[in-house]
Symmetry: C2
């Protein structure tokens, strides 16, 4: 019954990315300064019979540049699915590098996000309006903005930066516009999380492994796996249901199987999110969290447990996410991860047009078993957005596993990050740089340096910095 | 008065390309065989809210392939501005190579040309319909067709071929889809004939040089240059006008200055065309022509002449183009190079959206002096097609002079070809191959081997064949 949930795993995991990216982190709390600017771009870069334009927002800081120098690099963040200001505040490493390299800094907002809405408040009112939301249109926005800045200020070379979907964009940008972008740092960019390239259960497997390996005997993930049946059993009696509703402080009490299913979806979101933000210092991306939140979560589940004991421990563990500070009033499992609550349908539309990333849970993971069913996903997209997803679109456009004919891209991945499974972890192309961060979660390297950073991320940044410096040194017009 | 003709030099020169490409050549008369197939493609590859599709025509021949082999190359012609069958019949070298390499052969038709009309007979009735005509849409058509053929038949590697605009497409295809295309032969592809990259008078200069150097003392081009004033003077009197009309067998007699201007446009078209098809054997692309038609033309102009003598000589010379066989009934200067008479507005629309190739004539050429005036061109495009041309579009998308980060493209250019000036004639990228054919006109190398071929084109084909063989040998999945 719960296995074939109506809610789509692929969507909610990607939604996490969105939430993750749009919230501000505690630990990049130093507020980076910039001017907020606008750049007029064609609504449709591929249709010359349409003259409509709209304003793309970007953030600009030229305070580090050396005006006497003949070479001023431009560090360009290829904005992803969220408000661009949050990326600017949470990508401290790029600011550190810009200072070192006396670069101009630009964070460009992705169309359909933040304040860069082509149709203003009506952007998501009509399926016709969605038609101009795609990777290709976004990359053309960035290309025009760079060409304009270069024409005015002669900035060069340009280095692209991005994390997560933004990392994909920075990699694809270098692939398609190498004449504009000298190199790209693509952090935690799962460009291989597409049909036929990566097993669909890789996210679930890595998440399970992170939870399992936190304490000995893999008790944490084993307990989580058992908890589904426990909760289900409790929800099958009035008494159990009452206990669930009371103890978990649900904003909306569980009444039906569908409610329980939503709660389970919420829990799966929580586990994926905890793995992604399993950072070495406390942060409040999703909710206030301690350092290494998975360890904190699992600390309550160090022994195999059953029944009431398992329930009590799970409750404490889930509180790490839901109510670490003790100030939460109720647990809103229905909308905590709802895209609508965090600013629009844009990402869900992208997963319905070309960003089709197959996701499933196999029995050897701690998640509920769930198959990948493209047909069903496609039907949902047609119902909701009148868009037919194209399963192989990204692979045909960007080349899938074949990275032979590109260069100057750094793919960095933290092994604690569930998205690393879809990342680029090996290559025989000497101009593609693979950086593995064993102690890193989701694009930890892009964040500001922190005293609590593990050695592997410190080393990764040193390596990344050296490569980027070399790109700059090697550049000539 | 004539200098600022209403007729646009850029357009008519490009129109020549079209005519050139859509007529069948006498000397590739062996008829190559193929199946005619159709492939359904999205009308808009960049807008997922539009589900409309149409059928792209392509020609297919798998008769050369070795079914026992583990590696079957696909030779893929990236169709340009014309009916794809004419390209198939006039690209004999690709068939020769396919036989040698046991390759499958595909000629794909460019959308909006030939039978690949997205809106059938209404394609050019409404400016909204033009919106899906662009380089990017065409390349995506080709990418999907290749992906489909590969999925069905496992063809690999893919080598792209093209001449003229088709050569630009094959080069850009390799640049943007290197994961699909192992290499490209881009013959006479003026990818640098865009704003800021090449002097706008280069076409006129090379044409002048070809006419000037055919006989000693540069008399041929000098006489042509003088002929403008002569004709103008004749047209200023009733008697002179009558002589012009009678002697030239005009279908529509010259009555006004505008008529005379149209005749001058026609002559400039003729001169450019003669230089392009200045082949070592007789051909009937544009009209039946002798071998080396420029030499034949100039044979009448070996001495500097004036007055009646110049008129008589020019008449004989022009007859080389207009009436070599003596069977033409009248000279139709008004529509001989009219795009409408040769199948639609598609190329003119492309020059009005992104294919903006600046053209001008300077006083040191044999042409009438003409400035490049983008503003005026743009106004004409808006008037006629409601499209605002984008002057730098191609450069931003495809990189202009910067070819550092691409590979496996052969750029071949004949030095007798006026388009060679906008071609790639040098590079410091060791994976870009420059082949110069001193005795070659417009993509002579792509045509079938011929006993009259000059040594430089024979050598060019040997070189091209070796490079392509190496790409095939080096390829592995």
């Amino acid at each position: 019954m719960f296995i074939n949930s109506d809610r789509d795993f692929a969507f909610y995991l990607l939604t996490i990315l969105l939430i993750f990216s749009t919230q501000r982190g505690c630990c990049d709390a130093q507020s980076f300064k910039y001017e907020t600017k606008e750049f007029e771009v064609p609504l449709d870069h591929f249709n010359f019979a349409i003259n409509t334009t709209f304003k793309l927002r970007y953030l600009y800081n030229d305070s580090y540049i050396d005006k006497q120098s003949g070479k001023t690099p431009l560090f360009f963040y290829t904005g992803n699915e969220g408000d661009i200001e949050s990326f600017a505040q949470n990508t401290g490493f790029m600011w550190e590098l810009a200072k070192d390299n006396r670069a101009c800094v630009v964070f460009a907002e992705h169309r359909y996000y933040g304040k860069s809405l082509p149709f203003g408040n009506s952007t998501f009112n009509d399926s016709k309006n969605y038609g101009y939301l795609s990777v290709e249109q976004a990359l053309e926005d960035y290309a025009l903005l760079i060409a304009d800045l270069q024409q005015k200020f002669n900035y060069a070379p340009v280095i692209a930066f991005g994390g997560s979907y933004g990392g994909m964009l920075s990699a694809w940008f270098r692939m398609k516009y190498p004449h504009l972008v000298q190199g790209a740092l693509a952090a935690s960019a799962p460009i291989r999380q597409f049909n036929g390239m990566t097993s669909c259960d890789i996210f679930a497997k890595i998440t399970t492994s992170v939870f399992a390996s936190t304490y000995k005997n893999r008790t944490c993930s084993a307990n989580i796996k058992k908890s589904w049946d426990l909760f289900k059993q409790m929800a099958s009696t009035d008494e159990g249901k009452k206990k669930l509703n009371t103890e978990f402080l649900f904003c909306n009490p569980i009444k039906t199987d569908a409610d329980l299913d939503k709660f389970f979806d919420y829990l799966e979101d929580v586990y994926g999110s905890l793995a992604m933000v399993n950072y070495p210092y406390s942060n409040d991306f999703l909710s206030p969290l301690p350092a290494y939140p998975v360890r904190q979560f699992c600390s309550y589940l160090q022994n195999l447990q059953t029944g009431d004991s398992l329930f009590e421990s799970m409750k404490k563990a889930i509180n790490v996410y839901f109510n670490f500070t003790g100030s939460a009033s109720c647990l809103d499992y229905k909308s905590a991860f709802d895209p609508a609550s965090i600013g629009g349908d844009a990402w869900e539309i992208q997963t319905c047009n070309q960003m089709v990333m197959p996701m499933c849970n196999t029995p050897d993971t701690m998640f509920r078993v769930k198959e990948w069913n493209f047909k069903k996903e496609a039907e949902k997209c047609v119902d909701k957005y009148h868009i037919e997803p194209k399963l192989n679109d990204i692979t045909i456009r960007y080349g899938g596993r074949n990275l032979r004919d590109t260069s100057n891209i750094i793919f960095s991945n933290g092994l604690l990050d569930p998205w690393s499974g879809g990342g680029v972890l090996q290559t025989d192309n000497p101009y593609i740089y693979i950086i593995i961060i064993p102690e890193g979660a989701h694009h930890l390297d892009l964040r500001s340096s922190n005293d609590n950073d593990p050695p592997s991320v410190v080393q990764a940044r040193v390596h990344e910095s050296a490569i980027i410096k070399k790109w700059i040194d090697d550049f000539h017009w």
